[in-house]
Symmetry: C2
Subunit: 144 residues, 2 copies
DNA sequence: TATTGTTATACTCTATAACTATA
DNA sequence: TATAGTTATAGAGTATAACAATA
């Protein structure tokens, strides 16, 4: 275990970020799968859960081209989790929002992801856990 | 900005992890794209950079079915970045390794991802940065 | 003219099931 | 029999370019 101990000691912030990202991606994909959805579909669901959102804004949130989003929305809509509604102020636009089922699935996925990640974070002492959340928050916010 | 300040205060470890993971995914996808590759192709490249690896082990590293890997390896091989070699000890198996070009591209991608993530981490004071890396290292290692 | 969203097209990614060759 | 890898097939994700409708 010498090698592993050393790899901890010398892991850079960047390497740490990459590895934690893969971990989270796995959890996310796992949870999505258990609900018969793809990770992308769950991401979409998350983005429109709070309030109805237009296609352009969703595309920007997910880092996709608008044209890529059309099909994604089509497929999730076909499953009855989201709906397209006319924007009353702009007849070009539509607003994508969750259905009742979609809201439930969204909550369930979020809960399961959070539970599994919290469990993962329990490997840290409580103080470190809090400290970690605060550090990440700063990182993420500085990038907005 | 009240809302944002509050969201920092109340962000859980799990939410923090999810958000940082998305950030990293973006950086990774960006870098891959600049090299005319997909994120998956760069991941594959990373996995076989150190030493030649068999298909089954690669599939497990990437969390893919073997059958999904065949095509991925085909496409990256077609670009001349990796090669399949016979395993001299087991004639069923092959060992996937990087070509010279592949090794160069792999190094470049790694360097660029690291640079961009380090730049991102520079939003933190040096002490916090180090602390963060150490926390993440513990998280990731506890999951191995 | 600029913007919102869709369509058409071409690849890439992925899983499941069935298969070949070797161990 | 079990394992390593491939093929066949089907569906999902994505980008680019061209388009329609509205602002």
């Amino acid at each position: 275990m010498e090698a592993r101990a050393e790899s901890i000691a010398t892991m850079s912030v960047a390497d740490a970020l990459v590895r934690v990202s893969h971990l989270v991606d796995r959890v996310f994909a796992d949870v999505a799968r258990q609900h018969g959805l793809t990770p992308q579909q769950v991401h979409l669901l998350c983005v429109v859960t709070e309030r109805p959102v237009g296609m352009t804004e969703i595309a920007s949130s997910l880092g996709l081209e608008k044209s890529s989003l059309t099909g994604l929305v089509d497929r999730v809509e076909r499953r009855g989790l989201i709906t397209r509604a006319r924007d009353s102020h702009d007849r070009r636009a539509c607003l994508v929002g969750v259905s009742d089922t979609g809201a439930r699935v969204s909550r369930e996925c979020h809960r399961e992801v959070v539970d599994r990640l919290e469990a993962l974070a329990d490997a840290l002492p409580p103080d470190d856990k809090e400290r970690f959340a605060s550090l990440v928050a700063h990182l993420v916010e500085s990038e907005r």
